[in-house]
Symmetry: C2
Subunit: 439 residues, 2 copies
């Protein structure tokens, strides 16, 4: 819808017809808000919808077709095959320019019992509404979240808020797999402190059911009785439709696009969770499913289709989440990623405070920086702390964007006043420690 809106801004309705086909019942909503709907921090599902379909139709002359699934793309004939669920009929739609924005699909391993009732994914808004209603109706006592990534942890928080006893099962060595083990271990500690049971290095092998309803999660180490299961195993780009039409998919598994969001097929663009992005630090293509990238990419595609010029010059891998009082954020490469990308590196972890130590409400913050050996070039950063900690990752992300060294970072003119930091901002303290680590 970002692409459609931007194209419309540049070309009037007499000049360009725009149609959008959506398989589900909503467009332009915040999928990221689903855990907060489930947890009851957001009461009204409508606030998660940025714009109603009617607004696109009336104000932007974009024909939004809900419950319409595109099943095939014919690039030679410039035609889509569309299944209209309401009419129960298939039809063809022609196009001159096409934007593929098919998003991502949740990873759902084919485990025994995985189709049992009470096992839920949380991908689209309808999933969130259904889950919230179930929680309120069934009042489960126990839940298991499979996967300790962002969504998994946000869902664990939702259960805590609903008074449900919750366990997180993570196959890797720690939750938040994009953190280094030392920082990930702190997240696990924090989760346990919130009363969440965390089982690490455990793979789910199946589900026990009774009358088709899940009763336990079985891992390679234990059986966890439960009333409800959330699958938070991450997503992969949904490229089946594009690949079926011969649109090139890149090495990371996402649709290959250039900086203008052009695919390698003439007149075909792609944006959002289905594409791969250029990682500005590793210089490799990566797939990162995140609303902020999707919005920017959609905007870029739409501007270019509309005859303007815009580029999406890549990502540095920034992400943040909050679980109850804890804020966790990361950007750039972690140590394993830095090694994989061929960087020799040093790292430093420092403890500081979000305000001057003497100022009321000062919270602990732990900052890790990873820098290239010798050059001191910043490669990545990770932050764990309470209120006021997480968003500071943006300074590290901006430093990474500009390929700053930790030497130069130490000189940054970051704001100082006792309500905001000590006289040495935590990020500067971390830069100083990284410089020392490199000696």
């Amino acid at each position: 819808m970002s692409a459609a809106s931007q194209a419309r801004r540049r070309r009037g309705r007499g000049d360009l017809e725009i149609a959008a086909f959506e398989r589900g019942h909503h467009v332009s909503y915040s999928a990221c808000g689903i855990p907060f709907l489930v947890g009851g921090m957001v009461d009204d599902v409508d606030v998660l919808v940025a714009r109603m379909p009617q607004v696109f139709r009336d104000d932007h002359a974009i024909d939004v077709h809900l419950s319409h699934e595109v099943s095939a793309i014919d690039l030679d004939r410039r035609q889509l095959t569309v299944w209209d669920a309401a009419a129960g009929a298939e039809r063809r739609e022609g196009f001159d320019q096409l934007v593929v924005a098919t998003g991502a699909v949740p990873v759902r391993p084919p485990l025994p019992g995985a189709d049992g009732r009470g096992i839920h994914g949380v991908q689209v808004l309808d999933d969130g509404v259904r889950l919230r209603d179930l929680l309120l109706a069934e009042r489960p006592a126990r839940a298991v979240v499979v996967g300790g990534g962002y969504i998994g942890l946000e869902m664990a928080e939702a259960f805590v808020l609903r008074g449900v006893e919750v366990s997180v099962v993570e196959r890797g060595p720690h939750p938040m797999g994009t953190l280094d083990p030392d920082m990930g271990a702190l997240v696990a500690d924090a989760l346990r402190g919130l009363g969440i049971a965390v089982f690490e290095r455990e793979a789910v092998t199946g589900f026990e059911t009774s009358d088709g309803r899940v009763t336990a999660v079985v891992t390679d180490a234990r059986t966890l009785p439960t009333d409800m299961v959330i699958l938070g195993l991450g997503v992969r780009p949904n490229v089946a439709l594009a690949a079926g039409a011969g649109i090139a998919v890149g090495p990371s598994g996402g649709i290959a696009v250039d900086q203008c969001m052009r695919t390698r097929s003439d007149g075909v663009w792609a944006a959002g969770d289905c594409v791969e992005s250029f990682h500005r630090v590793s210089r490799q293509p990566v797939v990162i499913a995140l609303g902020t990238h999707a919005n920017k990419q959609g905007r870029v595609a739409g501007i270019n289709i509309g005859g303007g010029y815009a580029t999406f010059p890549g990502v540095v891998g920034t992400a943040a989440t909050k679980v109850c009082d804890y804020e966790v954020a990361r950007t750039g490469l972690n140590e394993a990623q830095a090694t994989a990308a061929g960087f020799r590196h040093v790292s430093a972890v420092v403890d500081s405070t979000t305000r001057a130590g003497y100022y009321p409400g000062s919270n602990p913050i732990k900052v890790k920086l990873i820098a290239e050996r010798r050059s001191g070039r910043l490669l990545g950063g990770q932050i764990i702390g309470r209120e006021g900690a997480g968003k500071r990752i943006d300074v590290i992300a901006t430093a990474l964007w500009n390929e700053m060294t930790v030497f130069d970072m130490l000189n940054l003119d970051l704001s100082y006043a006792p309500p905001f930091s000590g006289v040495w901002d935590p990020l500067l303290v971390a830069a100083r420690a990284a410089i020392r680590a490199g000696r």
Copy 2:
């Protein structure tokens, strides 16, 4: 003390003798914490002291001489004239290398009645303690703060917290003179919303006293009866001692130093509020009295004196403050400064939220960006908002440091999750608006 500590890290006590002379009774304390001591947010004065003199003596072999005032520097003889207040005696102290860290002096205009009791500056820790004790003992009903800068507003907050009716008198068109008028007006509105009376474009012409005690502040527009007055008229570099010795003072009024914090006199270094700094956007020397710069500069001087190498490559003019619930921050050049520096510029102001609009605790945030015409180079930024707004200025400061354009800023990979921002971070929304303003 930063310079002394850093020099000591590199050179042992057998190799380098280090002495420090301090006129007052404290070293190494947070002057920025004084308003919070006065306001009762900080109870114990000791928490404002980072390190006690004894620690410097015992752990770092730095001879700290309190109540010792250096009255003259003889560069030819490499000698200081030192007044030892306790002994009531003057003596000479030799040096090979000298660091001038004389700080700043408050601006105190010679107004009628200005020496009345009840009229206070807040510069050194002793001032803060005295004022706090007076407030508790005398329980004044009314106070007037002269000057609407950072310290003035923080002192106004302190009075609000102590239940004292407070007025702020500001000679300029709005409080926080380093903001543009449109943003400054919002600060004035916020202050009034907190019950603080704000009188703008009013110059203080004198003070009424009774029995030597202040009873009113007289401006060119009114007489404000009061029990207590705070002078918050800013500071200027304290360069008398250095200038008297022939150490060069720059055009901004601060001691001229190079990137290594060397003055133009051999073997003499300077750091802190008494020096001028290079402004990386205007490319002019400026005096900015701020603890974070002072600490960095002292560190750089000490490393270089110790035989290492470090530079202080300048500032971008970042500053932040908090008054009750309001956070105010700025960096770079404001519109008037941009014009004065010869930049043609555009600006944009946007309203956004500190979290996703639907997330609990989402606060309004207003962001202004100033960019060079045509090139789009970022020149400055200003932020006003509530909890979670102010510290975001650091991203703008980092972007300025790297001479980013607003076009590139729009692409920044800033963290996104509903507890931290909408899918378009407020700074990205501002960058988008600045791009539009430049068309």
